[in-house]
């Protein structure tokens, strides 16, 4: 039976003591309420002791204190509960700050959120220069703000500019950066950290052991100005502007954080400051946005724990070697993503020119990272060295996985899969990166269909976090688990889906794109529709811009496939035929609904598109609500079919994770089905029925939707 007393232990070292954080039975230290109670006792005990200094260390491998217990936060749901939790924490950390002895946080590993705020309440902070050491305040990522004094103590310690940088972006910094901005006093090799902390504090004691003043001192004229009374207003104004630009106003937490810092910076009245922070914390913690972001956090944590199959005894195979068939931009992106995570990648294509394109795609991604100094030239070389290419099957005998990313043509794919299987070892898994073709049909070409599976990446591969793992009828548990694990190894979020037209994400997304063509047909303005979706709903791109990205020819082709396989209810605007007769392909030929420059950057809408499609100058008459709902409601309707009729995925949570990670569906809405539940199923059905009578059967509510009260139980 573990004792909470072991979570924080005082170890006597003569005139100083070590305080060891070591939460029993856990891999990490985190601040749950029992741990906070224990911290209160420890601080009280220190207050009564005669130690001249206390050094706080962690006994966990790569974690100092990971932060507050988010599960616990999630369960609090009243203002009183939040207020109570935050006030308690403030009390404890204030007592810690007021201890007569010197306090030092000797930080090795992740020191985030509440952990960082704990460290800020100490007199000194030393950090190890280990890779695992990260200090920061990620709260805004969960829709909240630092609530244990972080909004007050961090600006006081490192100044306005550096602190807002961390708080507003929810960032963390490594030891080198932390030292530079004054967040820690020294960056020390991990092995020497504890001894250095002891020596450090012993020197301070020898010099009288006076508590330090933690007030930020500007090191440059610029810093001096920015922290001066006049400079501050400039900083806050700029910070607001940046935050609004990035969040489009959908995320209240960073704005709230600016407010708190603005109200408290430079004030010496700690009680008042703490109260301001606590009040604001409760405000944001109670928002739906925060609730959704916290849920999403747990959903993603869930994915990390999952294996992609139900049977827990199934082990994923280790993947050290991976081949990519088809070395285009997609193949190159997949090659990069594998090589960057340590997998040896062999690309195969018909010509060396095609391979060169794949290599270039991978090198371009790395080149950008090098330019932004995210990686060194050595890291770049190491990743590129893992990628090689050839026009024959040499090297295929030792591939663990082959990912097929060739042209979307069933007959060609089948022929290539059959041929590839002949050149691979028997247990090699072949995965298809198809976006629209049937995995089950393709599997027929593989002599061992149990080793065949879908692995659908989204474009651009290095940026889009979702991978749909398509489990065919014959796909084995082991193959599914292996591709699921490989997706995670490649830094992606996998969702297992069943085979079916468009799998999950494209199936749900296509009605939205298709509806945009109807809107256009009815005289809507391209820019306006796109802006409704981005600026009012929060999608990263509007439907027209997205069609350009996917490729107009691809969109229309997939629409037709859908109509064939899903039937009459897939209605297609007559504009699609006209569109196919133009030379507009979207981004790939820099001509779609929008125009693009040579480097692929989006320019304005191509006004000639209306005339070319036989449309008059748009007289936009529809409301933003109608434009958005006509798309969204169809998506929801389709989701209920995919989920309950075709069982493409098992849970609404999977739909939401997939839509957020695969399409950038606004996270603050919690995902498509959370959004649906918020609208109310009854309302959705009613609207769908109205649209259905007015506009066509594509809106007809699905049988499964009619039987539903809400997606989430």
């Amino acid at each position: 039976m573990s004792d909470i007393k072991d979570a924080i232990r005082i170890v006597d070292k003569g005139e100083i003591c070590l305080v060891e954080w070591d939460l029993p039975g856990e891999k990490v230290n985190k601040l749950s309420s029992p741990v906070m109670e224990r911290l209160r006792d420890v601080v009280d005990e220190l207050a009564e002791s005669s130690y001249k200094a206390a050094i706080f260390v962690s006994r966990k491998e790569k974690i100092y204190i990971a932060g507050a217990d988010i599960e616990e936060i999630q369960k609090l749901n009243t203002k009183e509960a939040y207020m109570n939790a935050v006030t308690q924490a403030h009390e404890i950390l204030n007592t810690l700050e007021d201890l007569p002895m010197l306090t030092v946080a000797a930080i090795n590993g992740a020191c985030l959120g509440g952990g960082c705020e704990f460290a800020l309440a100490c007199d000194y902070r030393l950090g190890s220069d280990d890779k695992s050491t990260k200090i920061g305040l990620p709260e805004v990522q969960l829709g909240i703000i630092p609530g244990f004094g972080g909004c007050i103590r961090l600006p006081k310690l490192v100044g306005l500019a550096a602190s807002l940088d961390i708080i507003l972006a929810g960032k963390s910094v490594n030891a080198k950066k932390a030292k530079k901005i004054g967040l820690i006093s020294e960056a020390v090799p991990k092995e020497l950290l504890e001894q250095r902390a002891i020596d450090f504090v012993t020197e301070k004691i020898a010099r009288g052991g006076k508590k330090p003043s933690k007030t930020f001192e500007a090191k440059s004229m610029m810093d001096g100005f920015l922290n001066s009374f006049m400079g501050r207003s400039v900083v806050f104004k700029q910070a607001r502007k940046t935050v609004l630009k990035q969040s489009k106003g959908f995320y209240p937490a960073p704005i709230k954080a600016i407010e708190v810092v603005q109200k408290t910076y430079g004030s010496s009245n700690r009680e008042r400051c703490v109260l301001v922070e606590a009040e604001s914390f409760c405000d944001v913690a109670l928002t739906d946005v925060s609730g959704h972001l916290v849920n999403l956090f747990f959903a993603l944590e869930d994915v990390k724990k999952q294996t992609g199959v139900k049977d827990k005894n199934i082990k994923a195979k280790n993947v050290d070697y991976m081949a990519v068939l088809g070395a285009g931009v997609m193949g190159g992106g997949i090659a990069y993503q594998g090589a960057a995570k340590g997998v040896d990648v062999r690309m195969k294509d018909i010509t060396t020119d095609a391979i060169a394109k794949g290599l270039k795609a991978a090198r371009d991604i790395l080149g950008k990272k090098l330019k932004r100094r995210r990686i060194s030239k050595f890291e770049l070389a190491n990743v590129m060295n893992r990628i090689s290419g050839g026009t024959d099957y040499s090297g295929f005998k030792h591939q663990d996985v082959v990912i097929e990313a060739i042209v979307e043509d069933m007959n060609i794919k089948k022929a290539v899969i059959k041929e590839t299987a002949e050149h691979c070892k028997a247990d090699c898994i072949i995965a298809t990166n198809t976006s629209s073709l049937s995995v089950n049909e393709m599997a027929k070409a593989h002599p061992h269909p149990e080793n065949f599976v879908g692995m659908h990446f989204f474009n651009p591969v290095d940026k889009m976090p979702l991978v749909e793992v398509i489990r065919g009828e014959h796909t084995s548990d082991e193959a599914t688990a292996t591709i699921f694990a490989l997706s995670k190894k490649m830094g992606k979020t996998p969702v297992v889906v069943k085979d079916g037209p468009g799998f999950l994400v494209n199936r749900l997304l296509l009605p939205l794109l298709s509806e945009a063509l109807f809107l256009l047909e009815e005289g809507c303005d391209i820019v306006k529709v796109d802006r409704f979706y981005t600026h009012q709903f929060g999608m990263p791109m509007g439907p027209f811009r997205l069609m350009d990205e996917v490729g107009l020819d691809t969109c229309i082709k997939v629409l037709k496939i859908f109509r064939e396989s899903l039937g009459e209810r897939i209605e297609i605007s007559k504009l699609s035929e006209k569109l196919s007769s133009t030379d507009r392909l979207g981004c790939k030929n820099r001509k779609g609904f929008y125009l693009y420059d040579e480097r692929g950057k989006q320019l304005e809408v191509d006004q000639s598109v209306y005339a070319e499609l036989g449309l008059p100058t748009p007289q936009h008459k529809l409301s933003s609500k109608e434009c958005v709902e006509r798309g969204m409601l169809q998506m929801i309707n389709e989701a209920s079919r995919a989920l309950y009729e075709d069982r493409i995925v098992e849970t609404p949570q999977e739909v939401d994770v997939a839509m957020i990670m695969g399409t950038g569906f606004p996270p603050f809405r919690g995902g498509l089905l959370k959004y649906a539940d918020n609208l109310g199923i009854e309302y959705i059905i009613q609207e769908l029925e109205e649209y259905s009578t007015k506009l066509g059967i594509r809106f007809k509510p699905a049988q499964s939707l009619l039987q539903l009260k809400s997606f989430y139980k």
Partner: protein, 432 residues
Amino acid sequence: MGNPRDVVIVDGTRTPFTKAGTSLGEVHPADLGQVALKELLNRTELDVDLIDEVIIGNTGSPSDAVNISRVVALRSGIPLKTSAYTVHRNCASALESISSGYEKIKSGTMDVVIAGGTESMTQMPLLHTQRFQQIFSEFAFAKTMGKRLSALKKLKLKDLKPRISVMEGLTDPFVGVNMGQTAETLAKEFHLTREAQDEFAALSHNKAVAAQKNGNLAAEITPVFLPPNFKKIVEQDVGPRDGQTAEKLAKLKPYFDRKYGSITVGNACPLTDGAAMVLLMSREKAESLGYKPMATIRSYAFAGLEPERMGLGPAYATPIALKRAGLEFKDMGLIELNEAFAAQVMACEIAMASDEFCKTKLGLSGAMGEIDPSILNVNGGAIALGHPVGATGTRLVLTLMKEMQRRETQFGLATLCIGGGQGGAMILEREA
């Protein structure tokens, strides 16, 4: 048949060889080696955990990759645990890598060795003079402005003239003559006319061009994709000239001895960039892994001679290798004799066919024999293909081995002359 400790060559590959300063000039020699080795690993589908050692020849010793073998190995995905070292025997460095691997496997110490060579003669640096270095360090360590100035004052314009390392490398430090001049010496002593040399050179080009067209060279070459834009892919050797003739070559001026000489840049090999790699194994290991090797190494030899006649090296090394293999010169069905200079190859041919030379210089009972031109450098030689000094030895073995497979030749000889006055030779037997 065969002894379990026979040393076999499983397969090999190389980058294209390109004239210094052309297509591969910007590629670091470690990256050239990486391309060849990575491709070899893919072609042989070898489990990299089985590799006991990586031995790579290189003469330029780039200062940012001094043990270039280790750099190439790690960049190719060979595990950290696997040791790697670089060998240097001048022009035979990449034959030395194979012979070193041979010894390790033959002795039973190891079973799987990567051997090869890589060289960028483009990237051999310009050096500062010793005097410049002294002044520079005086300047750098000076504590006062005055001392710095006085250091600077010593600097004369001529101190800034760089030393060209590739030229210094091609000059014999014992007798002080350039490699080209050693070829001039042989041309004169063996009465080799300019015309005959140009004929030989033109033939080398013609054979190489034919081998490009019929795919013989492509079979041993792996393309190099040029970063960062990958717009250019180097898939072929750049040296061979279609339609090269002795008449065209006759227009060039002698390069080393402008007045009385006959050696031109046209009948000598060019400075070249490139890399080549082979996979060596013990016969028992290869068999247990299911490989079908291409050749067995029957023997090798290195021998020394006068540095100023280094071009005759093959004549000195070959009889020793033959003796070690228990074979006769006439058993050799195919010969790769490196073409450092047309004159040097022709001098070797004469020497090997000469009773007197073989008796007096080599201590043999008589001439080794004439070389049938139809078995010599049948896919062209270094005059056309180029001679990246640290990689050529492996290239000769690779080309020989692949051609022996095509022609079903039982025994073949790869031999070359070595700057500093040595010769190297290796005898292969085809694996059926």
